[in-house]
């Protein structure tokens, strides 16, 4: 589809507001051979229960239906793995359903859970996601992931999904990055930032204290992408409890309003056709008139450089939450940094920066907890969890982990959840001597973007402190 009807552009409506009450996550690792998936899932659920001072059994009594995100049945060699987890959580005979949308599975799981509460079907739901990508060797894992591309038209080409995205990275690099060393360095800064933030996160699989030089010297995966530009492949689980207002306040004094939306675009990038740029509230058609002159080769939209699914998810979400300008109206974001360059692409798709100017979000220092240029708080810190590059990408859990991380900032409990020495010890990880509290002061609103592969599915989850809802500026 390249043209929309007004019906398709309707801002999604809820029959009642939905709240995030709590969330939790397990440790994340490349391989966790000592634990079954159910153990990871129970860890995540227990953390969520304890976060609101409930026992897991007490929390379970509130749950009415269950939404399970688990992308790759192949990895665990188990169909209906969701049902096994449901049973192990002792939530039978409640209704449950498995959700799979590739890398966006976690976000899509929240989407389904959100709609179940918004519709009035359930007053309290469990959104639980996990992945275990350690049960096949890496090259077989890469083949399985490539099977999420078109098996006839794409998968035989190298059986390597990264390659199908990498051609998009190449186009963006040449057109909007202009193949400049300075742009390459900006990409590297994202890798340094996210791995550095991961050092403060006991859950994180890939903490590293590195420099831009280290990134630029790391092995080439697919030029210009280098090993340290790429996200992790992980094992782990994360969950969230969503409720209607009445139930939310029974469980906690401090639930957060949540909005979840989704967009999609063709699974094969090959099928993407030209269209007008759909505008976000803070954009005007005029500003893109000369895009092709400023960035030769950018004449196709979304072409191979934009993620239309991200734009659609943001469009719907900003409409629901009355976000006019994400950089002004949000206090932090967790973005799907599968690759440093896709992170930059996303800044534009979700309107943090206009198309063509994504790099300035990093270069201005706005994306940092503390702006390295000014020493003051970053305007819109991104991926303080470490993101997919530093923390984890346990596919079905990723979008949920992101939302829970954003929530912990708005709750003002980020330090509590990341500083605790017992957690570092339990996960067998050493807390760095220079551990830093990354709590965003006075965080009121935040967003998590969950994204699949070449941009086939993207969700936007916006969390808002109920005392700080925005009034409509969008119309």
């Amino acid at each position: 589809m390249i043209t929309f009807s007004q019906k398709q552009l309707k801002i999604p409506q809820m029959s009642k507001p939905v709240y995030l009450v709590t969330g939790g996550m397990s440790k994340f690792g490349r391989a966790i051979p000592e634990m079954r998936t159910e153990e990871l899932v129970v860890d995540a659920f227990t953390e969520a229960a304890e976060f609101i001072k409930k026992s897991p059994a007490e929390l379970k009594k509130y749950i009415h239906s269950c939404y399970y995100g688990h992308f790759a049945d192949h990895f665990g060699d188990q169909l209906l793995g969701e049902a096994l987890i449901h049973d192990r959580l002792g939530l039978d005979p409640l209704g449950n359903v498995g959700i799979k949308t590739g890398g966006a599975t976690g976000g899509s799981t929240l989407w389904e859970a959100f709609k179940a509460v918004a519709s009035g079907y359930s007053d309290c739901v469990l959104a639980m996601g996990w992945e275990r990508m350690d049960e096949v060797p890496t090259d077989e894992g890469n083949n399985y992931i490539a099977c999420a591309a078109d098996k006839d038209w794409e998968t035989p080409l190298g059986h390597i999904y990264t390659g199908y995205y990498a051609v998009m990275a190449q186009k963006y690099w040449q057109v909007f990055g202009k193949s400049e060393d300075s742009f390459r360095k900006t990409m590297a800064e994202i890798a340094v930032k996210n791995r550095g933030y991961a050092r403060m996160n006991p859950h994180a699989q890939g903490p590293m204290k590195i420099t831009v030089e280290d990134v630029l010297k790391s092995p080439v995966v697919a030029y210009p992408l280098r090993a340290l530009d790429c996200c992790l492949m992980s094992v782990g689980a994360a969950c969230a409890i969503l409720c209607d207002e009445k139930t939310a306040y029974e469980l906690t004094d401090n639930p957060l309003l949540v909005y979840v939306t989704a967009g999609s675009h063709t699974l094969r990038v090959a099928d993407r056709r030209n269209m007008e740029i759909p505008l976000l509230p803070n954009e005007s058609a005029d500003q893109y008139k000369d895009l092709g002159e400023r960035f030769p080769g950018s004449d196709r939209y979304p072409g191979f450089t934009g993620f239309l699914a991200a734009r659609m998810a943001a469009y719907y979400a900003y409409g629901m939450a009355n976000i006019y300008d994400p950089t002004e109206d949000l206090d932090l974001v967790e973005l799907h940094d599968a690759f440093t360059i896709s992170d930059i692409q996303t800044y534009e798709d979700v309107g943090i920066r206009p198309y063509g100017e994504g790099r300035t979000y990093v270069e201005s220092g706005d994306c940092y907890h503390t702006n390295p240029n000014t020493g003051k708080p970053g305007k819109l810190p991104a991926n303080l969890s470490g993101g997919l590059i530093g923390n984890m990408h346990a596919v079905g859990a990723t979008g949920i982990m992101q939302a829970v991380e954003v929530g912990q900032h708005i709750w003002g409990r980020w330090a509590e959840m990341h500083e605790n020495q017992k957690k570092w010890d339990a996960y067998g990880r050493t807390k760095p001597k220079d551990w830093q509290n990354l709590q965003v002061d006075n965080a009121k609103r935040g967003m998590a973007i969950s994204h699949a592969g070449v941009g086939s599915h993207v969700t936007a989850t916006i969390l808002v402190h109920p005392d700080h809802q925005l009034k409509g500026r969008n119309s």
């Binding site: 006839d152 390597i160 990038v269 056709r273």
Partner: protein, 199 residues
Amino acid sequence: MSNSNKRGTVKVINGRYRPDGSFHYNYPNTPIYDEAGKLMGVTNPRDLTHIHAYGGESQFFSSLKDGEIWGTKCENPDCEHTGTVNLPYKIYCPDCLKKAIPVNLTATAIKSATVHTFMVTERTGAFNTLEKPIRFINIEFEGVDTILMSYLSVGEPKVGMRVVPIFRKVEPTFTILDLSWVPLGTSVEKLPDGFSFSK
């Protein structure tokens, strides 16, 4: 174990699959221990063959061995975007969902194929059969609304580079791998084994 059996093949007779030979092979599983000798799990080996239908896309995959590239065009006059040409081949127009008309795009490809973007990578997944590094190319064609993904077999890719199709006419695989590309002007001696130009 009957690993010496003939690997499975399939025919369609009277509209039904007729499998012949072995479609799976059994291997014993093995225990996984840690250093202390604690049982951590087991391996689950397997070797199996799937059956897959090309259905209405068969035209595309069967024509590659003949040196032809087929796409489809929506000729529904009532379609919002009538005239849209799709390569990859689409059986139905995604806009109006009417049957699209197969069109031979071989000449279009020879005349206008241009690299839109590309990627060179040494990294592949299990079961890859392409020579490394793989040179992924995404190709624009005049009058075609979509951009085909494929691979370059000779030379180094560049955005804007003109390329021409080559076809695996000898021992075709009947997959997308039977189609590859070389820079315009490449001589026939440089083509990989089994491949030739359209004519």
